[in-house]
């Protein structure tokens, strides 16, 4: 057993599951999407990205890039939420909510790719 793999796998899978939790629900309904969950998704994604820094292997590079994609999408979603609620004061109208959840859906896809690569790499080295 490899301690680093355990920590690494934990955060990557957690990032994906939290992201999925936020994404789940009617896309335009603010009641189905919790702001605290979005916060947790962003934090865990950042930690996962941090853990991927420094790996010099090919797979490490691809994993890092998928994480960066997820981060980018989530940051945009968070900015959109903040501006709608606190800056423009338009509130969480259905079209705002749809955009935010769609962005988090993109991040979810990047996280799924990340987990698939992790699983494949582990299986390959066990070959």
């Amino acid at each position: 057993m490899n301690l680093e793999k355990v920590i690494f796998g934990f955060f990557i899978v957690l990032a994906m599951t939290l992201n999925f939790g936020f994404f789940l629900g009617e896309i335009s309904n603010p009641a189905h999407h919790n702001v605290n969950e979005l916060f947790a998704v962003v934090v865990v994604n950042f930690i996962a990205t941090g853990l991927k820094l420094g790996d010099r292997s090919q797979v490490g590079a691809v994993l890092l890039s998928t994480s960066l994609v997820a981060d980018l999408q989530l940051i945009v979603a968070v900015f959109y939420w903040t501006s709608a609620v606190h800056i423009n004061m338009v509130g969480l109208t259905p079209d705002v909510m749809t955009s935010i959840v769609a962005l988090s859906g993109g991040a979810l896809l990047a996280n799924v790719v990340s987990v698939v690569i992790l699983v494949v790499d582990t299986l390959m080295s066990r070959l």
């Binding site: 490899n2 301690l3 680093e4 920590i7 690494f8 941090g50 853990l51 991927k52 820094l53 420094g54 790996d55 010099r56 292997s57 490490g60 080295s125 066990r126 070959l127």
Partner: protein, 579 residues
């Protein structure tokens, strides 16, 4: 460059051959169209309708090609119809003439040859990675091509016999093997085969003509000074000439090679089966002892090149020899127990002392005779050890049924020798190591036992591995300021308490020092050449290890190197080497 020259030749031939038919079609069409527009048409609305140039051309297009869509834009007048009859017959005949010319052109042998050459040089240009040129696709060439294909090595084949190239194109090789029907001793064809390319590792000339082989070898050396030249030779005077052309030249003499093999088999009873197994002979079992008798009288039937080489080898082993040959031998020949002049028959065999003999070598160049002698000799003395020469590949079934102890097939011996030279040049010092010293027999037995245990029935892999930045990035980086023990390198990266099914038979360092069966504490250096033997799967794991710094660290230390900055910081903080 060669390709464009060929292409311009093709264009030239096409243009020259098609000039007359194209001219004929143009003249016939223009006259017909001119006639059609002049001919007065039917009267519509009180006016005579003439055909426009466009309509006339349209009419001619379908008439000349016998399609016949009808009369447009109005039904023709009789004047137009009579001209149309003339046009139809003439233009159809002209078309047939043009089509005939095209067919003749396709069948033109020069054109098809130029096209074949063009296609060939295109195929050669598309080869990526290293390749080998084989001149001559006879028995030796085809066995060699098959072996190279199994080892995933591409070869370019040139043969002066069209049938052989057709045969090549019908084979199912695992890698591309472009073939050209041409005379390989013409420099142009060698250049087309890519001899000047840096990827071209070696040229093997194994045509049936010794003189051609010599010419090809010399040409190859001039065209590419760095290339390995490998050629088959059965005549000693050529060998002297070949040896002086400079560079790396290997002359394969199947008879000498086989005599050496026989001598080594006499010393080492597993040598023969191990050798056969290494070269990929699927019919031999690994630990199948072959015990040619070590003392007594051997009878050699036919004292040609093979007989002479084998006699020399046997005498060196301290064995007595008797010779039967229709031609008298030179009186200087020593170590001859008995010499019987004449063809080998029951009578001459008895004269040579077949009753007391322990072994017989039938080495004439006639397959029927060789089998005949074998059966004859066995009926007189059933305990003989038999070595028989098989000249033609086609007679394989007969020789197999005759159940000789050793079958010598010159083309096969040469092909295998060349194969080993290309794939595993370090095998020579390996075998030499065992042959020079009898006491090393147990070491060889150890290797064979190991191989049998860990590879068993699986397909053996024998390959050279060059420790370079390209082949082993991680290892090469590590070796820049440290040394690596061979024992660690052969550990299974998945579980380092286990060893890979891989053994290093020979390690040759850049300083040309060769170590046979290096121990686990041999320190690997950059630019080392390793001769590896094992399974394909283990070799893949091995290559993964030497190219991945994390795996390399793991097999060396047993610890896991922290990958991310965070874990590196954590490990440093805990004062540890790895995880």
């Amino acid at each position: 460059m060669a390709a464009s020259v060929d292409l311009s030749r093709v264009t030239f031939i096409v243009l020259r051959e098609m000039r007359k038919p194209i001219l004929a079609i143009i003249i016939v069409y223009s006259l017909s169209i001119a006639g059609m527009i002049i001919m007065p048409g039917p009267v519509v609305n009180g006016e005579i309708q003439y055909l426009s140039i466009f309509h006339a051309f349209y009419f001619m297009t379908y008439t000349a090609t016998t399609t016949g869509f009808g009369e447009i834009p109005f039904p023709f007048s009789n004047a137009q119809r009579s001209w149309a009859i003339i046009c139809l017959y003439i233009s159809v005949i002209t078309w047939f003439y043009a089509i005939g010319s095209i067919i003749r052109l396709i069948q033109n042998p020069y054109l098809s040859k130029a096209l074949a050459e063009h296609e060939f040089s295109n195929k050669v240009e598309r080869i990526s990675g290293e390749f080998i040129i084989i001149c001559g696709f006879g028995d030796t060439g085809s066995v060699l091509a098959r072996g190279l294909s199994d080892a995933r090595l591409t070869a370019v084949v040139i043969d002066s016999n069209e049938e052989r190239i057709k045969a090549l194109k019908l084979r199912d090789y695992k890698v591309p093997m472009p073939g050209l029907f041409a005379d390989a001793s013409v420099p142009k064809h060698l250049i087309e085969a890519g001899i000047r390319r840096a990827d071209c590792k070696a040229i093997v000339s194994v045509t049936s003509n010794e003189e051609t082989n010599l010419k090809i070898s010399a040409l190859a050396r001039i065209l590419n000074p760095n290339i390995d030249v490998i050629t088959k030779s059965k005549v000693e005077i050529w060998e002297e000439t070949l040896a002086t052309i400079g560079g790396k030249v290997h002359i394969i003499d199947p008879f000498k090679t086989y005599a050496q093999l026989l001598a080594s088999s006499i010393e080492q009873r597993y040598f023969h089966s191990f050798n056969n197994w290494l070269v990929g002979d699927k019919s031999t079992e690994l630990k199948q002892p072959l015990c040619p008798p070590k003392d007594g009288l051997w009878i050699i039937c036919g004292f040609g090149r093979m007989g002479q080489e084998i006699k020399r080898a046997l005498n060196k082993q301290g064995l007595k020899t008797a010779i039967i040959d229709p031609k008298p031998i030179s009186p200087d020949e020593d170590n001859v127990e008995t010499f019987v002049l004449g063809l080998t028959t029951a009578r001459t065999l008895k004269l040579a002392g077949i009753e007391q003999a322990v072994g017989i070598v039938t080495g004439t160049d006639d397959d029927g005779q060789n089998v005949g002698i074998l059966l004859n000799a066995r009926s007189i003395n059933p305990h003989l050890f038999t070595v028989v020469r098989q000249n033609s590949h086609e007679n394989a079934a007969a020789f197999k049924a005759a159940k000789a102890d050793m079958i010598m097939q010159p083309s096969l011996v040469a092909a295998r020798r060349i194969m080993l030279l290309l794939k595993a040049p370090l095998l020579k010092p390996f075998f030499k190591y065992f042959v020079v010293n009898q006491d090393r027999a147990h070491e060889m037995n150890d290797v064979i036992s190991w191989v049998q245990e860990s590879i068993g029935d699986k397909v053996p892999l024998l390959t050279s591995f060059h420790v370079t930045q390209k082949n082993a990035k991680a290892l090469a980086d590590f070796l820049e300021n440290d040394s690596f023990q061979l024992g660690d390198l052969l550990k299974d990266p998945r579980d380092r308490t286990q060893l890979l099914d891989l053994v290093v038979l020979v390690a040759k360092s850049a300083g040309e020092s060769v170590e046979v069966l290096p121990g686990s504490n041999y320190s690997v250096k950059i630019n080392d050449q390793l001769l590896l033997c094992g399974t394909d799967f283990s070799y893949r794991l091995f290559r993964a290890t030497v190219n991945n710094e994390y795996k390399l660290y793991h097999v060396r230390t047993g610890l896991r190197q922290p990958r991310s900055y965070f874990m590196q910081w954590y490990v440093r903080k805990m004062g540890r080497e790895g995880l």
